[in-house]
């Protein structure tokens, strides 16, 4: 054992090798190649927000095409050049827009932006660790993500345009560079970017799991961890199990594209010429993709669930309802999410018996999802609700999760899915349950932990404006899509004018586009609020939301090593809000039971007989005193 001194300016002598002390951080080591988890979290957040803005602009572009398929907008040609000749977005570029929008939103914003930000920020702070297991790997994780983002965006600058086979990049379309412009260089860049992305995710995920399992502070046993940590932990586990499978699928795809194998290719005729590929199976790719793809959607939503649970408990001033059930349902979702991938493939000619099996597993996953939903509602019930912007977004997350989750049950029926597959019904389903719900969870987290990240508060009024416009906008955009889907309107079509049966939906399309533009403009309120508050927001106090978790015991000023002195010890679970008999309506995790005799319950001492005896003695003296009176 060696003893390391920590000065009160708090730079703990705590680095990889234990013998190189650098006090003077340079600009590069502090802001760019930082190994501090808080800074890395901020890097992920800002990159994620940037990517989100880009992906949102892409969606507005294709919404314009959908709303006004006959009109020309010369401005588009000025902006996009040969991608939009004669003032209209070209058919190929329309598909590219949809593809890259989906890819960026699912992977770059809601996976890296969400998990990357909050896992990095919260894991060490909430479990009481000075940093991640391997800060170096953590830094690499960010820079791989950054590189992946750059490569993905660079595909807009190649002549043939970005990948355009949809975010699921099904072969054979994606496997044949000559099949369409978007399957050429753009697709190659997409694949390179995804390999970098997966490397980044794995490095991050490995660190998160290892840190949570190995580096918790004294007293922080698993059942005292906040739900954010549980969610981020299980999310990382999902990623570790699922992403390598995507890599396997992508490796085979790369061989098909560039080395002449035929894993996914068979009986292909291209421009009238029979291709030499034989015996491949495009369905194989779908298996590999969705074995990742379904867990991926839970990788997206689980951090949002954890964040919302935490925020709703804090702002209802009530313990989270059913803490254990919340954890077990997260575990249930984690396990089940690996055996439902077939529901994306009901109409691929799958054996109907197998379809039935996947249908049952899919419907079972609705059970833990429902458990969580009821627990959130029960947490709100009769709470002393504080409607902070973070709280509103957390409630919004629950709302979207319910309305989008219900349609999942329709889609999960193999028979109903024959009609609904690849229609706007699916688009409505996943934009509500995944897109909107996860974004709301992420925004809730940003509003809630902004003071922890930047030492300042965001403006509440702008927060409310942002919430209501986005909340209403998202429903206006996605709700009508259910009806389009029920009417059989397929997704990813360029112009509804070409099909008599779809023409009646043109007016709805125009309506949706204007709702989308409104919701997009609402994000300006957020961006303005975010940027201005970083520099000029009101200074925060140490624990602005009167919350119990450990991150609020660290000083507002960021220190390398987080706590100036010893890391605090944890004595209780994180949800002692409004405990009867307590002096205040919250008791931080660092307060020992011996200091809160009046509010202790027998239940607090389940495996601590000495403590229970102490409590009983305390109670009997109280009773005795009362009798004397």
């Amino acid at each position: 054992m060696s003893t390391v001194a920590v000065h009160d300016h708090g730079v703990a002598h705590h680095d990889e090798h234990g013998h190189e002390h650098h006090h003077n951080e340079t600009f590069v080591s502090k802001y760019i190649f930082s190994m501090d988890h808080k800074m890395i979290g901020k890097q992920f957040l800002i990159t994620g927000i940037t990517m989100a803005v880009i992906a949102m602009i892409l969606s507005i572009l294709f919404r314009i095409q959908l709303a006004y398929p006959d009109k020309t907008f010369p401005l588009l040609t000025t902006l996009l050049g040969h991608f939009a000749p004669n003032g209209r977005i070209s058919t190929e570029f329309y598909l590219s827009l949809v593809t890259i929008h989906g890819t960026i939103m699912v992977f770059f914003v809601l996976t890296a932006g969400l998990s990357g930000t909050f896992a990095n920020l919260l894991i060490p702070l909430q479990i009481g660790a000075r940093d991640m297991a391997s800060p170096f790997m953590n830094m690499l994780s960010y820079w791989f993500f950054f590189l992946a983002s750059v490569v993905m965006l660079s595909s807009f600058f190649v002549q043939s345009g970005p990948a355009s086979g949809g975010w699921t990049i099904y072969p054979p379309l994606s496997a044949l560079p000559k099949a369409m412009p978007g399957s050429g260089e753009g697709m190659t860049l997409w694949l390179i970017s995804m390999v970098l992305f997966v490397a980044s995710s794995l490095m991050g995920g490995i660190n998160y799991v290892s840190t949570i399992l190995n580096m918790r502070t004294k007293g922080m046993d698993l059942w005292k961890m906040p739900l954010t940590i549980w969610a981020l932990f299980l999310t990382a586990v999902l990623g570790i199990l699922a992403f390598p499978v995507l890599v396997a699928g992508v490796v085979l795809l790369i061989f098909d594209r560039s080395f002449g194998t035929s894993f996914y290719l068979s009986d292909i005729v291209l421009n009238g010429v029979q291709q030499p590929y034989e015996g491949g199976s495009p369905i194989l790719f779908q298996h590999l993709f969705w074995f990742l793809g379904h867990p991926e959607v839970y990788i997206v939503i689980m951090p949002a669930m954890g964040i919302s649970s935490e925020i709703m408990s804090v702002n209802s001033r009530k313990p989270i309802f059913g803490y254990h059930a919340m954890v077990y349902s997260l575990i249930g979702i984690t396990v089940l999410s690996f055996i439902v991938w077939g529901h994306h493939m009901f109409v691929t000619g799958m054996n109907p018996f197998l379809g039935g099996v996947f249908m049952i597993t899919t419907l079972i996953i609705a059970v833990p999802s429902a458990v969580k939903t009821f627990n959130w509602l029960a947490t709100l019930w009769r709470g002393n609700i504080r409607f902070t912007p973070a709280m509103l977004f957390a409630i919004g997350m629950v709302s979207f999760f319910i309305s989008g989750g219900l349609t999942g049950i329709f889609l999960g029926n193999a028979a109903l899915d024959i009609n609904l597959h690849d229609t706007y019904f699916v688009v409505a389903h996943f934009h509500l349950v995944m897109g909107s719900a996860a974004i709301f969870g992420m925004l809730a987290g940003v509003y809630h932990w902004f003071p922890k990240m930047f030492g300042r508060l965001m403006d509440e009024k702008l927060g409310y404006l942002h919430f209501w416009l986005t909340f209403i906008g998202a429903y206006l955009v996605f709700f009508p899509m259910h009806f389009m889907g029920l009417d059989g309107v397929p997704r990813r079509y360029y112009a509804f004018t070409e099909f008599a049966s779809m023409q009646k939906w043109l007016t709805i399309n125009t309506f949706i586009t204007w709702a989308a533009i409104m919701a997009a403009l609402a994000q300006v309120a957020f961006l303005y609020n975010f940027v201005v508050s970083i520099f000029a927001g009101k200074k925060t106090t140490q624990n602005p939301w009167e919350s119990n978790t450990l991150e609020w015991t660290t000083p507002v000023e960021h220190l390398h090593g987080n706590w100036p002195g010893e890391i605090p010890t944890v004595y209780r679970w994180p949800y002692d809000y409004s405990k009867p008999g307590a002096e205040e309506d919250f008791i931080p995790q660092t307060v020992p039971f011996s200091q809160t005799m009046s509010s202790n319950l027998p239940h607090d001492f389940e495996d601590n007989p000495a403590g229970l005896a102490e409590l009983n003695r305390f109670k009997s003296t109280l009773k005795a005193e009362e009798k004397v009176k």
Partner: protein, 194 residues
């Protein structure tokens, strides 16, 4: 104010990192599991068997990789007894066996391609899988050899014993794992050869 925290660098810094290695191994295992499942889905669904009798080179490479695990084990025992010389000797041996494994695998490819007419671009993709399995495994082997060399390099630079032991442990976990993966792949291929 001067507060003190107790800190044991070995435990605090190395344990979680070793754990990282274990998790990494898990991801790598998932990757190979995905490839072999892909093989099963492919050959089962399409009725394309492998129909290749495995070249005997694979038997030799299996022997070599098992042997290399043995020498690495001896190297690690030497570290625990603080015998740097023996450690270096066994590490060099392991390195040589690793390279030999690599060479034999590549030789097996040439046998497959030139003598047995089994190609990477075979219309029967079961046969392409053969190359993908061995190729991805070889990529891992390259990484493992680099890790081994870095440990070896550390012993010449006389890094502290604790760090030396830690690097040895990291190398061993990875190396033994790759041996197991190879045996898994080989048995898998043997079971599916027709």
């Amino acid at each position: 104010m001067m507060a003190s925290i107790q800190k044991n660098p070995d435990r605090l810094d190395f344990e979680p990192k070793k754990f990282n290695m274990w998790i990494f191994i898990f991801t790598s295992f998932m990757f190979f599991a995905a490839l072999t499942s892909g093989f099963i889905v492919y050959s089962g669904g399409k009725g394309h068997g492998l129909n290749v009798i495995m070249p005997s080179a694979f038997m030799y490479s299996t022997a070599v990789i098992i042997l290399s695990s043995g020498t690495l084990f001896l190297a690690q025992r030497a570290v625990k007894r603080s015998q740097i010389g023996a450690q270096q000797l066994y590490l060099w041996l392991t390195f040589a066996l690793g390279v030999a494994f690599f060479v034999i695998q590549v030789y097996a490819w040439s046998v497959l391609t030139y003598k047995m007419n089994v190609y990477l671009t075979d219309p029967n993709a079961s046969r392409s899988f053969l190359y993908i399995f061995t190729g991805s495994h070889l990529l891992h082997i390259i990484a493992a050899i680099l890790l081994l060399l870095s440990t070896l390099w550390g012993t010449y630079r006389k890094v502290p014993q604790a760090r030396n032991l830690y690097k040895m442990q990291m190398t061993s976990i990875f190396w033994h794992f790759l041996g197991i993966i190879w045996i898994y792949l080989y048995v898998f291929l043997l079971l599916n050869q027709n």
